[in-house]
């Protein structure tokens, strides 16, 4: 080191090593995060697809140590609800998923919740409503302008097919709820499948007593539980939708508008896992004349 420039060069080299080391460390051992996903929507094809995409990215994201799914949903389309359920199950295989019910997780909304490791809900939240709904089936009939190759090519099946299919969807829903909740680590289910299939809507406190949720609590409890299950003590909380730039909530504002849009886009014989307190939109609950007459009666 007789030459001063050699010292200067050495310091610069060390500084560069430090910078590179810091960068390498953040890349190779990132700070764990508890990802929060807020699902405040009717479960439609669009909202479910966005949720699934977030979940898939979270599964691949090493930063994500656990996920808190914050649910405020009355449910929606049956197959979209099932999609979300199975994606959550898949995520749960690698990272803890905690459901925090904000207000309501009814029907399809609750279907999503039961895929979580734990479910937290405030005492007055609405949970349950485990069942399916759908339009009354029409009978097969011929289309005057169309030829078809089989008796059910146009209608898709008999009236009893529709009835049975609705029941099959409901049975799967009930079966999954019972299966998941009976194995819940904190508060297992205390009622049988027949009682679950009655599709009642319970308060959060009632749901706790019956084992439909694990504990009373909210988002904070869910974050702590996620960190606990993930085994991280130092972590940051990140809104995954913002982080990934994927918005779940559609542009429509009210539930009734969302349900109307949902029914408009859904197949004609679609099955819904929707909160029974929300009337099905016009197309599913009679003609416009029916609606007009019912409004007339409603005024008296």
């Amino acid at each position: 080191m007789d030459r001063p420039w050699e010292y200067a060069l050495g310091v610069v080299g060390l500084a560069l090593c430090l910078l590179a080391g810091l960068g390498l460390a953040r890349w190779a051992a990132p700070t764990p995060i508890i990802g929060v996903v807020r699902f405040d929507a009717v479960i439609s094809e669009e909202t479910a697809a966005n949720l699934v995409e977030i979940l898939e990215r979270a599964q691949k994201d090493d930063r994500v140590a656990g996920v808190v799914l914050e649910i405020a949903s009355p449910g929606g389309l049956a197959y979209s609800s099932e999609n979300a359920f199975y994606s959550l199950l898949r995520l749960r295989e690698t990272k803890p998923v905690i459901a925090a019910i904000d207000g309501q997780a009814a029907s399809g909304g609750y279907y999503m919740a039961v895929a979580a490791n734990r479910i937290y809900a405030p005492p007055s939240a609405s949970v349950g409503n485990v069942g399916a709904r759908g339009p009354r089936p029409d009978d097969p009939e011929l289309s005057p302008n169309e030829l078809s190759s089989g008796p059910y090519k146009i209608a898709g099946g008999s009236r009893f097919d529709s009835i049975q299919q609705l029941q099959t969807v409901a049975d799967a829903f009930v079966g999954n709820v019972v299966n998941q909740r009976q194995h819940a680590e904190v508060t297992p289910l205390t009622i049988d499948a027949q009682a679950v299939a009655e599709a009642r809507i319970y308060l959060g406190s009632e749901g706790l007593a019956l084992g439909l949720i694990d504990a009373e609590g909210g988002r904070t409890d869910a974050l702590l539980a996620a960190a606990e299950l993930a085994g991280v003590e130092r972590y940051s909380v990140v809104d995954l939708a913002d982080d990934y730039g994927i918005a779940i909530t559609p542009t429509t504002s009210t539930i009734s508008e969302s349900v109307a849009a949902l029914a408009a886009d859904a197949p004609p014989d679609a099955v819904f896992l929707l909160d029974s307190r929300i009337p099905l939109p016009q197309g599913l609950s009679g003609s416009s004349l029916d609606q007009q007459l019912l409004r007339l009666r409603g005024n008296n």
Partner: protein
């Protein structure tokens, strides 16, 4: 060199530390990559255990149907007029089931535009009773499924009457029909003792694919034949009330509202004995099970058959007021007699033809051969056409048995006045007759008459009836012409003036054909009768289920205004000129109507017979046109109504609970105080005040003191039936101020003997007499022999209606 290398090595080491140190700290010291998560081991359920799709249907041989429609069977009417949100195609299985029972089905549709009429209030839905009456006129049953709008009280009253007449009613409240509300349908079913509950039934253990698709568990009463059947209901209500349960749900079936119960009634038969509707109303809590495709599930078609059998069980008496519903498709029109037809009858025949054509029937002109063949039994049973027979009395009497079938015989009385005329009442004449003559002219001459011939007579002859006429000359210049009067006489001896009556009746003949008989004194009378039949106007007629005796209005018959030509129709066998009327010449009406008969049936019990009808018959026989007032339907008349009549008959003696009651006393007093004349006929006519306990009357004797009413009554005790109910004896001294005259007393077989049974009094002794007259009868007129009834009412009418 040696000094340089270590320094370089130190720099290298420091650089490595700085490069890896942060990673070491984060990854090893802080364990940022550490994850303690262990996923739960929860098996995924096996959805492959869900059921396979429903099996593809296989062809099943349908039962052979051999429709043999009989035109007389009335169709079943289905209500859609209350905007029932049900497709007409949903009724196709029921329609088919009824067709196999030879019964048609038609829909009562809403009026055009009713659905978009801009109705703003649910309760403003209009009453449709007029249209309903038309629909039910020829219907056998009514089906009402989940009406959206309320049935109006008038509509319900019509339905109740329809059921009482023999019609059937099927009411279904299905909870999964749009707008179905049990609370609204109950206003239709409650009069029949049936109540739908605003619930739905479900069974989570044993169901047909859905929890609301329940299975019936028990079959009772008329549905007991379904026992062992597997019948499902697809969204059903429970039914309460006094109806007889027919089908009940299974023991595991629950109600959405009626918690803690099981075995819910889902089909019941109701109705009320008192209203004659018992057993004629079927209520069901589900409609889907009667529709495709549900009806083909399990044994559901049996339930459809049960409902169709119920509807097919309607039984209507072929009453004349249901013309032409009881006629077949082919009908022959027959004019009696050989005379050429005039325009009047021709026109009415054409109108009958039009009327029948509207209902799908054909009316063809036929000759007497058909009648002969039908009457002689030469027509093949089942092929004989139905007939409408129009004729005058004489022709009908000569060529057919119809007049006799209707219970009448033709009696012609020829009266020849004898001389000399007297200026006072003949001792041979009954007292009432002489009294009647008093007001007819300034100079009164009564013709002493005797019967010189009776052409035909089958009934009891009344005493010769006096004829009063103003005499312009007390001394006859020529021998008087015989006076000919033709009567229709019933088997009981009641006579009707033939020229003032039209008979309308219907009968089933031996050959199976049905005949409508319309008889009057002449063609104009027949025409007037056809008019009544066409417009179903039976006002002021004496009605029986299958016949009507109607008065001819003045001018209806050619000869009606002029009694001199009574019975002088060209086809009449007895013709005489200058015949004069010989009915009792009751005083002409002034500003009042003459007779009001109040049938006080408000407290009548099931099976009790009205006494008022007997008064009506006897009064009509005496030439009166009384007005009938039924308190059960019209309530008690007000004072103004009573004041409009010269004579009021308050009839309640047909019923155990007889009025008048204390509440009626003020009304009667007000009427009497204005000079009213009233007959009170009751088993307790004096508000329960009686000198002795009620006892049955076995016999009666006529008291000579009751002169005003005892003319022509038998001098020997009148025996009554021995099973009559007890009635309160009267007391001729029940009021200090009353001086009553007794007409009838209890006879020696009765207790208490000699107690008055009929008495009368007036206000003649009052300070300001108003002309009031009161008769009190402590028994029912119907208990008396028919000839006594006739005489007594006639006497009473003469006394009550005299000026």
């Amino acid at each position: 060199m040696m000094n340089v290398r270590p320094r370089h090595l130190l720099f290298l080491i420091a650089g490595l530390l700085l490069l890896l140190g942060p990673w070491f700290v984060r990854a090893v010291v802080l364990d940022y990559n550490g994850r303690a998560y262990t996923p739960p081991d929860i098996p995924v359920i096996d959805l492959a255990s869900t059921p396979a799709p429903t099996v593809t249907p296989v062809a099943v041989t349908a039962p052979a149907v051999e429709p043999e429609p009989t035109f007389r069977t009335r169709p079943v009417v289905v209500d859609l007029a209350h905007l029932n949100r049900i497709s007409r195609s949903a009724f196709q299985p029921l329609e088919a089931a009824l067709a196999t029972r030879h019964i048609g089905l038609r829909f009562w549709q809403p009026e055009a535009g009713a659905e978009t009429s801009g109705l703003e209030n649910f309760l403003d839905f209009p009453d449709q009773s007029e249209r309903l009456a038309t629909e039910l006129a020829d219907a056998s049953a009514l089906v009402v499924v989940s009406p959206f709008f309320l049935w109006s009280p008038k509509e319900i009253a019509l339905v109740e009457q329809f059921v009482a007449d023999g019609g059937r009613l099927l009411v279904i409240s299905d909870p999964d029909v749009t707008g179905d509300a049990a609370r609204d349908i109950d206003n239709l079913t409650q009069p029949f003792g049936l109540v739908f509950n605003d619930d739905y039934l479900y069974d989570t253990e044993d169901n047909d694919g859905n929890f609301i698709h329940i299975f019936a568990g028990e079959f009772l009463d008329q549905a007991s034949g379904l026992e062992g059947s597997r019948i499902a209901l697809y969204g059903a209500r429970s039914i309460s009330g006094s109806g007889e349960p027919q089908v009940r749900s299974g023991e595991n079936t629950l109600s959405s509202l009626r918690t803690g119960l099981s075995g819910f009634t889902v089909a019941a038969i109701g109705g009320k004995e008192a209203r004659d509707t018992a057993g004629r109303v079927l209520a069901m809590g589900d409609f889907d099970t009667l529709t495709e495709p549900y009806v083909e599930r399990h044994d559901n078609r049996k339930l459809l058959g049960f409902a169709a059998d119920f509807l097919a069980g309607a039984e209507f008496a072929p009453t004349i007021d249901k013309f032409p519903a009881f006629l077949g498709k082919e009908v022959s029109l027959l004019y009696g007699g050989e005379q050429a037809l005039g325009a009047t009858l021709l026109v009415q025949g054409a109108r009958l033809q039009d009327r029948l054509a509207v209902t799908g029937r054909t009316l063809t002109l036929a000759d007497s051969d058909i009648l002969t063949a039908t009457l002689t039994g030469n027509a093949t049973a089942g092929n004989a056409p139905d007939l409408i027979y129009l004729a005058d009395f004489a022709t009908a009497d000569a060529e057919t048995p119809f007049l006799d079938d209707l219970g009448f015989s033709l009696v012609t009385v020829v009266v020849t006045p004898t001389t000399p005329l007297t200026t006072s009442a003949s001792a041979a004449l009954p007292a009432p007759a002489s009294a009647i003559t008093a007001a007819t002219a300034n100079v009164t001459v009564t013709i002493n008459a005797e019967i010189t011939s009776t052409v035909a007579s089958t009934g009891t002859e009344l005493a010769p009836l006096s004829v009063a006429e103003p005499a312009s000359s007390p001394t006859p210049a020529q021998p008087p012409a015989p006076q000919v009067t033709t009567y229709l006489e019933t088997g009981a001896g009641i006579r009707f003036l033939a020229n003032e009556v039209v008979l309308i009746g219907q009968r089933e003949l031996d050959a199976g054909a049905r005949v409508v008989v319309l008889l009057a004194v002449d063609s104009n009378g027949v025409s007037a009768g056809v008019e009544r039949l066409l417009v179903q106007d039976f006002r002021q007629c004496i009605m029986e289920p299958d016949q009507a005796v109607c008065p001819l209005e003045a001018g209806d018959a050619e000869s009606a205004p002029d009694a001199a030509t009574a019975g002088t129709d060209e086809s009449s066998p007895s013709t005489a000129e200058n015949a004069t009327p010989d009915v009792p010449a009751l005083p002409p009406p002034a500003d009042k109507e003459r007779v009001l008969v109040i049938d006080d049936n408000s407290n009548a019990q099931e099976g009790e017979v009205s006494e008022a009808d007997a008064y009506i018959k006897r009064l009509v026989a005496a030439g009166e046109s009384p007005r009938l007032w039924v308190t059960g339907a019209e309530d008690i008349p007000d004072a103004e109504t009573l004041a409009g009549y010269r004579w009021v008959i308050w009839s309640g003696a047909g019923y155990e609970e007889s009025g008048p009651y204390l509440d009626d006393l003020g009304l009667i007093n007000a009427y009497v105080n204005q000079g009213g004349r009233i007959t009170i006929s009751s088993r307790a006519p004096l508000l329960g005040m009686a000198p002795a306990e009620a006892a049955p009357i076995r016999d009666l004797v006529v008291d000579p003191a009751g002169r005003a009413m005892n003319q022509d009554l038998p001098g020997t005790p009148i025996e009554l039936a021995d099973d009559l109910p007890p009635v309160q004896p009267l007391d001729e001294h029940f009021l200090d101020t009353v001086d009553a005259s007794v007409v009838l007393r209890r006879g020696p077989l009765s207790k208490p003997e000699r107690a008055p049974a009929l008495l009368y009094f007036t206000d003649a002794d009052a300070e300001e007499p108003m002309g009031a007259q009161i008769a009190v009868m402590g028994l029912s007129l119907t208990w008396l022999p028919e000839d006594v009834q006739t005489i007594l009412v006639r006497n009473m009418a003469v006394w009550m209606l005299e000026e």
